[in-house]
Amino acid sequence: MSEQKAKAYRRGLITFLFLMVLTIAEYIVAVNFTSSIIMLFIIALIKAALIVQVFMHVSRLWRGESH
C-alpha cells in the first residue's frame, strides 16, 4: 500500500517538474528568442495533456476505476 502511494506521489512530482521546466522554457524562449504563437501553443498543449492525463486521471472515465 505505502509503496503504491509512494509511486503515485513520485508520478505527481515528475509531472509537476515537467510542467515547471516547460513553463520556464516557454518564458525564456518568448522573452529572449521568439514569441511564435505556434510554438508557444504547442508547449501549452503538452502541458495541458500532462495535467489532464496525470493530475485529472482522465482514463478513469472509461476504465471505471474506483478511488
Binding site: K5, G12, L13, T23, Y27, S35, F55, V58, R60
Partner: protein, 217 residues
Amino acid sequence: MTSYTKPIHDDQHAAEHANHEPPFEVQLQSNRLGLWMFMFSEIFLFGALLVARFYLWGDTRPDLSQEVGLFATVVLLFSSWFVYRGQTSMEFGDRQGFKRNFLLAAAMGTAFLISVVVFEWNVFGLSGELFGVELFGHLTIADGVESGVFFAMTGWHALHVTTGILLLLIMWNKGRRGEFTPDRSWGVEGSGLYWHFVDVVWVFYYPALYLMGTVMS
C-alpha cells in the same frame, strides 16, 4: 376524530426504492461524466475569450509585467500539484496528508488571486519596484477594447479560481470532520478535478496574454 396510521405499503415502497438505488460505482461514474461534461461546456466560454484575444490583438500583446505573470503561473502549478497530492493522500487513507495539501493548495490559489488582482490589475493604484522589477500593472479597464479582453479573460478565470478555493476549503473542512473515506471521497476528487481544469485554462491564457506576439506600442 380519526387517527392516521401509516400504511404498510409506505415502508414497502421505501424499501423497494432503496433497493433501486444505483450501486456506488455507477453513481461515481455518473458524477465523473457529469463533471467532465460541465468542464467541456466551460471550454466554450474560455475558448471564445481566447478567440477574441487573437481577433483583437493579433500578433501583439499589451505591456504586462513578465515577472508577475510567471510568478502567478508557477504558483498555480504548485497548487495543482498540492491538490494531486491531497487527492492521492485521501485515496490511500492519509487524512493528515489530505488536509495539509488541500490547505496549501488553497493558500497557493489565494497567492495567485493576489498576484492578478492586487499586482496586475493594480486595484489599489499602487506603484513600486523590487530589484528593478516593476511590481504593479498599468493597464486599466478604460484603455479601450484591448484592455477589455485582458480584464474579461483574467476576470472570468479569477472568478473560477475564487470558487475553486472555496470548494477546496469546503472539502478540507468535510475531511477534517471525517466525512470522507478512501473508498468514498467523490467530493475530494470532484473539487480536485475542477481545480486542475482551472489550471489547464491558465496554461493557455498565460502565453496568450503574456508571451505571444510583440508588445503593443
